[in-house]
């Protein structure tokens, strides 16, 4: 999840499909929930990666 940086900006959620860096590091291929398109993302320190297993707990 990527936080909105301005007032009114929504958080953006997406699904990490692949890790393109060595040893499963960034950039990550992300499919964005709001648009459905895929891009490479280098997440910042304000981005949160939630594992699917965490959601079921």
């Amino acid at each position: 999840m990527v936080k909105g940086h301005h007032i009114g900006d929504p958080d953006r959620k997406g699904q990490v499909l692949e890790a393109r860096g060595p040893d499963f590091t960034a950039p990550f291929l992300v499919r964005w929930d709001d648009t459905g398109h895929e891009t490479l993302l280098f997440p910042g320190t304000d981005a949160v990666v939630e594992h699917l297993a965490d959601q079921s707990a």
């Binding site: 990527v2 393109r20 860096g21 060595p22 590091t25 960034a26 950039p27 964005w32 648009t35 398109h37 891009t39 490479l40 993302l41 280098f42 997440p43 910042g44 320190t45 304000d46 981005a47």
Partner: protein, 151 residues
């Protein structure tokens, strides 16, 4: 057409601890409008000349402040092997004018929206060249390929 086939500019990188003043000097010396902020060859952010103006100068931020305090994080990038249509999609979906190009996570260049417009304009020009010639010299085309005679 793949991104690596387009004339991608070399990316100018700086460390996160670089001062705002040094970042501005680097942009001036290298004649670029943005710096990729990288640590151990990994992208951690991007800072543009506009960021320097809006996030630093306008707010009277001290010029010795670290550039990572004003940089944009969550950087969208393009794989060098991606198709030009991926670049078009990325530019249209994200409000950015420059995208770092990477190979296996390491930055290798920078693609600007301007670069892409130039490439697409050239392709469009080539596409319309034949049609334009036909519009300008219609008779020349008629003489070159006369209709077949029927016995």
């Amino acid at each position: 057409m793949r991104i690596e086939e387009i004339a991608v500019r070399p990316a100018v990188t700086a460390a996160p601890g670089t001062s705002i003043a040094e970042a501005a000097r680097l942009m001036a010396n290298e004649a670029v409008g943005c710096l990729i902020i990288a640590e151990n060859e990994r992208i951690v952010g991007i800072v543009t000349d506009r960021d320097l103006v809006v996030r630093a100068i306008a707010k009277r931020v001290a010029l010795d402040t670290r550039v990572d305090d004003i940089m944009s994080m969550n950087v969208i990038a393009l794989d060098a092997g991606a198709d030009i249509r991926d670049a078009l999609r990325a530019f249209s979906m994200h409000a950015v004018r420059r995208l770092p190009v990477v190979v296996r996570g390491k930055v290798t260049g920078l693609l600007s929206l301007d670069d892409l417009v130039v490439v697409l304009s050239k392709q469009f020009g080539e596409l319309t060249q034949g049609v334009a010639a036909q519009l300008l010299f219609p008779h020349a085309y008629d003489e070159a390929s006369p209709p077949a005679k029927v016995a």
